[in-house]
Structures are given as structure tokens and as C-alpha cells.
């Protein structure tokens, strides 16, 4: 009897608690909470945001632009007095303006290339995964082959052909950077394909194309966004790499890679020409990397 009473009491107290509805938490809210707990990711989001704001808004507040020389200040070291906070280069161009402009270009290029790689990778992976069978095998074999070959070679090859057309070129980088995306998307598609709603769509007579692009692709958004965040820093590096070698962005335009290449040449006498662009590049890469990792840890179902 006593036990029963105790049990009842417990039950009642439990009921009382339940009377006030506990707000439910969706998987998405869970993931966001996990992301916010990840300090490195939060700091990175703030840093990246600041960097983007600087890069976009900064040039309006600087009295110099990225291509016109200041005839009074050639090779000026960084100082607050003459207004060249980051110093000037051999041609008297303000390094702060150039760094901000270079950051803009690097980000823009990374965005274009990432969009291209996402479009190709998602379509390719989803088609291979959904159609399956021989088609899948052939398509993925092609990806394996491309994986084995260093795509930088193809990029340089395309560069030799396309020459100075910068945006076409970076679209070409994107067109070669989709391999991992295709693999991830294919894997996801294989599991989504088994779901009931796909079966329902097929039973109601929907065509393959419509199923792929209306029912499968929208459900891939999570992993695609995560992987795309990790693709951006990769492309920033590739762009800098190519610009460094002299294939990428050309004068008077500039990018972080071009600035670093120019800075490295005069490192001993004009060290600021390397340090400032390098710092921007490192902050940009680190924050993108931490955000990508954070997103993956927060949203990826495997670690739950």
C-alpha cells in the first residue's frame, strides 16, 4: 500500500510537470544548439562576417582605390599619419585598398566556382545514385578516374586555352571541383531512394527527371550546404595558387594570391606587402574551415 501511494505520488508529480507543455525541439534546433556550443565555429562566423563586411564596405571609407598610385608615398611602410594603414607597394598603391579588393575577388571567385561545382556535383551524383545499375557504375568509374589525376593540370591546361578570361576560368575550376560533391550526393541519394515517398511518387507516375529534381535534390540540401562550405576554402586556395604561379587574376586587378606572390618577392625590404594579405588569407581560410567543420559536426547524423 505504502509503495502504491509513493508510486502514485511520483506519477502525480510527473503529471504536474507534464501539465506545462515542454516545448519540443526539432532536429534542426538541436543542430543549431550544437553549432552554437562549438566556440571555434561561432568565433569563425563572427570573423568571417567582419571580413566580408570589411571587404565590401571598406573601400568606400578609404580615400585610395586599388589601382591609382599615391605619388607622395611609394614603398611607404604602414603608418597612421599618411593614411596608408597597411603601407603602399612599389607603385605607390594603397595596400589596404588592394587587400580589401583582393579579398573581394577571392571570395567572388570562390562563390562562382562553388556554385558551378554544386550544380554539376549534385546533378551528377543524384542521377548516378537514382538511376543506378550500369549507368551508376560507369558514371562513378569516371569520377574515380578523374580523382586519380591531379585536376590542377587540367586547370592549367584550360588556362593556356582560355587565357585572360577570369570568370570563365574560375567556372572551369568549379567544373573540375565537383568530384567529392558527386560522391557524397550519390551516397545520400542511394539511401533517400529507398524512402516511401519516392515509391509513392513513382507509383503515381512521375518521371525519373521529375523525381530526381523535385523529390531527391531538395532532400539533399543539408549535406550539400555543409560540403559546399568546405569547398569554398579549397577554391580560395586553388585561386591563390594559380594566381601565385601567374595564371590567375592579372594586373591591375588583384586577389589575395596575387598579392601574396608580389609580397613574397620583396619580403626582405617591404615585408608588409606579404604580411597583411597573408593574414587576411589565413583568417579567411581558418574561419571557413572551422565553420565547415562545425556545420558538419552539428548536422551530420553519424556522430549523434
Amino acid at each position: 500500500m505504502i509503495f502504491r501511494k509513493a508510486k502514485l505520488a511520483i506519477l502525480e508529480s510527473a503529471m504536474e510537470g507534464a501539465a506545462e507543455p515542454v516545448p519540443g525541439r526539432s532536429l534542426f534546433q538541436d543542430a543549431v544548439a550544437r553549432l552554437i556550443r562549438n566556440k571555434a565555429a561561432v568565433v569563425s562566423v563572427v570573423m568571417l562576417f567582419l571580413l566580408i563586411v570589411f571587404a565590401i564596405a571598406g573601400p568606400w571609407f578609404i580615400p585610395y582605390n586599388y589601382e591609382d598610385p599615391d605619388w607622395a608615398a611609394f614603398r611607404a611602410p604602414p603608418s597612421l599619419e599618411n593614411g596608408h594603414w597597411f603601407g603602399t607597394d612599389q607603385n605607390g598603391r594603397d595596400l589596404l585598398a588592394r587587400t580589401l579588393f583582393g579579398t573581394r575577388v577571392s571570395l567572388l571567385v570562390a562563390l562562382i566556382a562553388t556554385v558551378v561545382s554544386v550544380v554539376i556535383g549534385v546533378s551528377y551524383g543524384a542521377i548516378a545514385g537514382y538511376v543506378g545499375g550500369r549507368v551508376d557504375q560507369a558514371m562513378m568509374r569516371f569520377v574515380d578516374i578523374m580523382y586519380a589525376l591531379p585536376y590542377i593540370l587540367f586547370v592549367i591546361l584550360l588556362m593556356v586555352i582560355f587565357g585572360r578570361n577570369v570568370f570563365l576560368l574560375f567556372a572551369a575550376i568549379g567544373a573540375l571541383e565537383w568530384l567529392t560533391m558527386a560522391r557524397i550526393v550519390r551516397g545520400q541519394t542511394l539511401s533517400i531512394k529507398q524512402r516511401e515517398y519516392i515509391e509513392a511518387a513513382r507509383a503515381s507516375g512521375l518521371g525519373t527527371t521529375a523525381i530526381i529534381f523535385r523529390h531527391i535534390v531538395p532532400n539533399l540540401v543539408g549535406s550539400v550546404v555543409i560540403y559546399a562550405t568546405l569547398t569554398i576554402p579549397e577554391i580560395v586556395v586553388v585561386e591563390s595558387f594559380l594566381s601565385y604561379l601567374g595564371f590567375g587574376i592579372q594586373e591591375p586587378l588583384t586577389s589575395l594570391g596575387t598579392l601574396i606572390a608580389e609580397g613574397a618577392d620583396v619580403l626582405e625590404v617591404l615585408p608588409w606587402l606579404l604580411w597583411f594579405p597573408a593574414a587576411f588569407l589565413v583568417v579567411l581560410l581558418l574561419s571557413l574551415l572551422f565553420i565547415g567543420d562545425g556545420l558538419r559536426d552539428a548536422f551530420d547524423a553519424r556522430d549523434r
Binding site: 589525376l149 593556356v160 606572390a261 619580403l267 606579404l274 589565413v282
Partner: protein, 307 residues
């Protein structure tokens, strides 16, 4: 085992064929011919040049001739350095690239595995964090940024090492390029090793070994190391191709006379013949290295062979 190696060897043929074909035709998309200069050549010379380089034949015929020459080891002519064929130029540069690349390869394996084991043994301890930080630097800093910084520090400030040049192959000239080339791979390999080692250390056979009373060192070296290394070996194939990409930059920065420099110069000078030849040569090199790594992998892990 032999069977697997043979099948794997056969499977490289279509890969190479597709890659070579793609490169050949892509380069033909390029506007202008190799001899279109600022001053137009006399018609007769033009025709002779075209005949000499088979440019007067149809594209398909040229392609067949190219494949045929390739099978005989002829990578074609260089259009800028006309006194040398592509193969001759590559042969001059190859030893330098192989020495630097090979040393970086071994350095990254040795240091990467050591760092990975240390990181997993002292997991979440001070060595782990130290190694983790260095690794992050290796992963994030691109080599074209690391190289000038090291040049400034060791070459100009401390004056310990020369900033560039081959220097007759003296060790002091090789140290910096090899370190710069190896750094990202040390980082990746040690990450792989650390992860795999932690996973292996949780498996049953390690628990058995421990319950038999074996000491930590003997467990790590005699039992855990071999299964840990399989993911590392599978990384070595891609690593070869990353090393090659890295060598493009490293050779340019340190002024080394390897094939990376030839390639970059050819691409900047629009020497189509040289670019095509070098790319095809790189492809063959990488496919062969991948083949070796795959066979090595199958030898280490019998499960792969039966697939």
C-alpha cells in the same frame, strides 16, 4: 595476388587513354596555331612547318600519329624550344623532381606516422595539442605562403640555409623545399594515423593483448601499428599526385630546375607541345605511382584482392 596486379594493370589502360585523348583534343580548342606570331611567316615556311609537324593532316590522323609516337616514348615536339623535344627537356628535369618529391614522400610518411602515433598515445595530452596545432598550420597555410616565410626566417634572418637554387644537390639546398613540400602531407598522414590508431586501440584484439599483460609499447608497435597503417597506405596514391602539384610551386619558388618549372614556363609561354607533353607525362607518372600503391595495398590487406 599476381592476378590482382595484372587486372589492376589492365584497368590503367583505359584511364590513361581517356586522359591522353581528352588533353590532346582540349589543347586543340586553343585559338591560333603554334606558329602564329606577331610577324606573319612566309607562306612557304608555314607550309613546311605544318608538314613537318603533321599539322596539314586531319585532326584524327594527327591524333593517331600522336598516339603511335607516344607508344614509342616520343612525347612530341616543343614549339618554343625548338632544338629540344619534350622528352629531352623532361629527362633533364626529372631527376631533380624525383629527388625532391621522393624525399618529401619519405619525410611525410616517417614524420606523419610518428606524429600520429604520439598524438593517439598521448590523446588529449600536451603532445597531442602541440602536434594538433602544428598540423592545423600545415593544413591551412598554403605552400606558397609557407615557403617565403621559411626563406625569410632560415635564409635571410638566421642565414642557416640558402634561399634557393639546386647547389649541386647539397643537403642544405634541399632541406627547405622538401620540408615545404612535405608539410601538408605530414599533417594529413598524422591525422589519418591518429584517427585509425585510436579506433584500433579500442578493438577487441588489443584488449586481449592488454589482458595478457603486454606493455603499452609492445601493443602499439607489434599489434596496433599494422592495422593502423592501411588507411595511410591508401592515402599514398593521392599523396603522389598532391606532391606533384606542390612541386610546381616549390620548384618555382626555390628556383629548382625540375619538370614543374618546365611545365609552368611552358604554360606561361603557351608552348602547346610542351604543355601537352608534360601533362601526359605527369598522367603516366601518377597512374603508375597509383598502380604501385594499389598493389602494395593489396599485398598488405588481403581483403582487397578478392574484390
Amino acid at each position: 595476388m599476381f592476378n590482382y596486379a595484372f587486372r589492376r594493370l589492365l584497368s590503367t589502360i583505359p584511364v590513361l587513354w581517356i586522359a591522353i585523348t581528352a588533353c590532346f583534343f582540349v589543347l586543340r580548342l586553343a585559338p591560333g596555331g603554334p606558329f602564329d606570331g606577331e610577324r606573319p611567316l612566309p607562306e612557304a615556311i608555314k607550309q613546311n612547318l605544318a608538314a613537318h609537324y603533321n599539322l596539314d593532316k586531319s585532326l584524327f590522323e594527327q591524333y593517331i600519329i600522336y598516339l603511335g609516337n607516344l607508344l614509342q616514348g616520343d612525347l612530341g615536339p616543343s614549339f618554343i624550344n625548338q632544338d629540344f623535344t619534350v622528352a629531352e627537356q623532361l629527362l633533364v628535369g626529372l631527376p631533380y623532381t624525383l629527388i625532391i618529391g621522393g624525399m618529401a614522400f619519405f619525410l611525410s610518411i616517417v614524420l606523419g606516422i610518428t606524429a600520429g602515433i604520439l598524438g593517439s598515445v598521448y590523446r588529449n595530452g600536451i603532445p597531442d595539442y602541440l602536434i594538433g596545432t602544428v598540423i592545423l598550420i600545415g593544413l591551412v597555410l598554403p605552400n606558397f605562403l609557407v615557403a617565403p616565410i621559411l626563406q625569410l626566417f632560415f635564409g635571410l634572418k638566421l642565414e642557416w640555409l640558402p634561399v634557393g637554387g639546386w647547389g649541386g644537390g647539397a643537403l642544405s639546398h634541399i632541406v627547405l623545399p622538401v620540408v615545404v613540400l612535405a608539410l601538408p602531407h605530414i599533417a594529413r598522414i598524422s591525422r589519418l594515423t591518429r584517427g585509425a590508431m585510436i579506433e584500433v586501440m579500442h578493438s577487441n584484439f588489443i584488449r586481449t593483448a592488454r589482458s595478457k599483460g603486454l606493455g603499452g609499447g609492445s601493443i602499439v608497435w607489434r599489434h596496433a601499428l599494422k592495422p593502423t597503417l592501411t588507411p595511410v597506405v591508401s592515402y599514398l596514391g593521392p599523396a603522389a599526385s598532391y606532391l606533384l602539384t606542390g612541386s610546381l610551386v616549390v620548384e618555382t619558388i626555390f628556383g629548382l630546375p625540375g619538370i614543374g618549372r618546365y611545365f609552368i614556363n611552358a604554360a606561361l609561354n603557351r608552348d602547346y607541345g610542351m604543355v601537352l607533353g608534360t601533362v601526359v607525362f605527369y598522367m603516366i607518372l601518377i597512374v603508375v605511382l597509383n598502380l604501385i600503391v594499389d598493389i602494395l595495398y593489396a599485398w598488405l590487406d588481403p581483403r582487397v584482392r578478392s574484390r
